[in-house]
Amino acid sequence: MIDPVLASRFQFALTTIVHIIFPVMSMGLAPFLIYFTWKDIRGGGPVYEQLRRFWTKIFAISFVVGTVTGIVLEFEFGTNFAAFSTTAGELFGGPLAIEGMMAFMLEATFLGIFVFGRERVSDRLYMVSSLAVGVGTWLSAVWILIANSWMQLPRGYELATENGQQVVHLVDPVAAYLNPRFGYMYVHMQNAAVESVALFMAGVAAYYVYRHHVWGNETENIVFWHKTLKIALVALLITAPLQVLQGDLYARHVYETQPQKFAAMEAVWDTESYVPEYLFAIPTDLSQLTDPRAKELFGIGIPGGASWLASGGDATAEIRGLNTFDTEAPPVAIVFWSFRAMVGMGFWFILLAFWGGYRWYTGELFEDGLLHKALMASSLLGFLAVELGWVVTEVGRQPWVIQGVLKTSEGVSPGLTGSEALITLVGFVGVYTAILALYAYVVARVIRGGPPDADALESVDSSDAPPAGVPGDD
């Protein structure tokens, strides 16, 4: 029978990896939708109504799937990580409860109006609804990341033993919840969400633009796709450079506060200075390929690069090696490669942004077929980069679930049996694969269907009630 600890870890990893897609989509779309709604209400023209209605469809389905997969996440703290919940509940439960009350309630109620209520409410209330939904999704992330940043960098607590179990007591809420880590995480996450959605919008729009202009295949509503591509490019030009620049500061903060994670990101085993930044590395002895302890590396590295990045400019800075920690190292290969892939994509997105921006400047944005193909190929890479970033964050702090306080293996429910864990794990793999497939299917259908026709919309604008036969938003 399977080890319940291992099964719980796999199951939680699977739950978060699938769930994060949907909040990224809704958080990333939120600022766009607020802008589209504002322009639409202020009479910006039918294209803004098309934009609002089209992207609201994607938002709505993402929100629904995000809700059902998110509840699972909250419950799994109790079902699978009961020991963690008992130990950390006093600090960890509060932010989760406030997230539900302050943020989730706000989004879920006003979403009803935002998706179903355009014809029922005034312009003003509709605008307020779009803002409420957007603010709600971003507030959700505030509380979730407050909880997560405390697990990365626990502060403001005291340890006590109650009924033979270690329990964390809150002593300084300001230190615990206004954690320095939170700011780095929040900016990195929210900017990543907008960047991922910008890449997705650009990729989808590039497909239609390519089909129309390069292929010469007459496409309906091409103005809508032009506009989508340009708006996405503007967002990408802002977010892509910011992500890499801020990510650099974040990595430096990790170097200072979580040296074990940083050592895993750079695969540094023995404390060294003048550590190279490997762009690529394999063990010279190929039988050690799966062994992250392989020491003889063949690689392409920038001399002193890792030290330089860690310290913010000093190529001789010392990086503490994994061998110097009392606990076993996290799975180094996973952290090392995830970090590289994420950073590599970050630079690629900057290149894409400037490439697109340059073509726009030269007036060839709609003619550069290679750019369109690059954008199409990159449409989902933002989401992949987010996933890998979270892998670095969460795998990188193993074996700890609360850094330096509680190990992940000690956080699992003590009464959980191997067969129970196996049943739900198998169920999860099946259900979550189905959810992903269905989500992809629905989103693809929405994209294939395209926006509502501009001609049909103008008749809506001229009267309060929609004429018979005009379908609703969804």
């Binding site: 389905i61 629904v64 799937v65 809700t67 059902v68 997969t69 509840i71 909250e74 419950f75 109790g78 079902t79 699978n80 009961a82 020991a83 919940s85 509940g89 006093e90 600090l91 960890f92 439960g93 509060g94 989760l96 409860a97 406030i98 539900g100 009350m101 302050m102 989730f104 309630m105 879920a108 109620t109 006003f110 979403l111 009803g112 109006i113 179903f116 209520g117 014809e119 029922r120 209330l125 409420a132 809150l170 002593v171 809420p173 300001v174 429910s413 003590p414 129970e420 049943i423 739900t424 259900v431 269905l438 299917y441 629905v442 259908r445 929609p466 018979a468 379908p471 609703g472 969804d474």
Partner: protein, 335 residues
């Protein structure tokens, strides 16, 4: 926040209030709110099974469309409040009923996805299967939630118990009671007269299930029959019978708002019975009392301030949502 404020917040309960008991009441109040609000969505899902007509089915989906997501958040808030105020209970209870919890989650996933999927395509096979999924999720979720509440009350370590089954049946019947009133209110003539009949049948079934529950509890409850014969329990049961009769009369007369209010009363009444029977314990299986399981004073005070500020705000959101969609849904408001 200055250190003086923190010290004051850590020194004793805010305004000397009995915060552990208030949070115990709040946790059950949140559970009751979820069981009523999402309850009528579940009930609508069960009634959906009895409707063969395409237009009637669309009317059911349109009726719950703008609401169900917000209603479901009450379950998240219930879980969050239990976690924040009584972390060891949250941990113990959820891990003890491991498979039951995942059953509930699975049912909620099915119920949430099915209406979205149902509307994606209009071929018969597709809609038949997603319609079935919608019904299955809508019936299973309240049944398993009821089973969870029953097991919680009697402190059973097992997921399948007799108490669990009868409470599960009671809660499922109760959601149909709410669902019938809600659909009558929201759809007027789009649905056949049978919806009223279903509501009347469900309220009778619910009251019978309550009698069965009390019978089983008399044998199984650790505190025995004395707890059942206490004044609050007798009063709540009597009130439930009165509300049940009132519901039937109101639904027949077409006073749909009154019928829905009676259904709300029934739901909060049932939750209150469970809470009253459980108190002063909050996790009978672990032998934990409310006072023993509550978090320490500082986080409790902070949470209390948060809840006191946010719950009235949430009430406003729901008021705005429900008033924006007041009155029956119209034909052009497709899901």
């Amino acid at each position: 926040m200055t250190s003086a404020t923190v010290e004051a917040l850590a020194s004793g309960p805010l305004f000397g209030l009995p915060l552990p008991e208030l949070w115990f009441a709040l946790v059950f109040g949140l559970l009751g709110t979820f069981l009523f609000l999402d309850g009528f969505d579940f009930g609508a899902g069960a009634i959906f099974a009895t409707l063969a007509d395409d237009e009637a089915r669309e009317a059911v989906l349109s009726a719950i469309g703008p609401f169900w997501d917000g209603n479901e958040v009450w379950l998240v808030v219930f879980g969050g409040a239990l976690f924040a105020a009584f972390p060891s209970v949250y941990a113990g209870l959820f891990s003890r009923h491991y498979l039951l919890m995942f059953g509930i989650l699975g049912a909620l996933i099915l119920r949430g996805l099915a209406p979205e999927m149902y509307e994606q395509r209009h071929d018969e096979r597709w809609q038949r299967w997603w319609g079935r999924s919608f019904v299955a999720g809508s019936v299973l979720a309240p049944f398993l939630l009821g089973a969870f509440a029953g097991n919680w009350l009697v402190g059973s370590p097992r997921s399948l118990t007799l108490v669990g089954v009868v409470v599960g049946v009671a809660v499922t019947a109760l959601t149909v009671v709410s669902g019938a009133a809600f659909l009558r209110l929201k759809t007027r003539d789009a649905l056949p007269e049978t919806v009223t009949q279903i509501g009347l049948g469900a309220v009778v079934a619910y009251l019978l299930a309550v009698v069965a529950t009390l019978g089983v509890l008399a044998v199984r409850l650790p505190t025995g029959i004395d707890a059942l014969l206490s004044v609050p329990v007798i009063a709540l049961v009597a009130a439930s019978v009165a509300l049940g009769v009132g519901y039937g009369v109101a639904l027949r007369r077409g006073s749909n708002v009154a019928a829905l209010a009676a259904a709300a009363g029934l739901t909060y009444g049932l939750t209150a019975v469970v809470a009253v029977l459980m108190y002063p314990s909050i996790d009978p299986a672990a032998g934990l009392t409310v006072r023993a399981a509550i978090v320490s004073t500082l986080p409790l005070n902070l949470m209390s301030v948060g809840a006191a500020l946010l719950l009235p705000l949430i009430a406003t959101y729901f008021a705005v949502l429900y008033s924006a969609f007041s009155g029956p849904v119209t034909a052009d408001e497709a899901y």
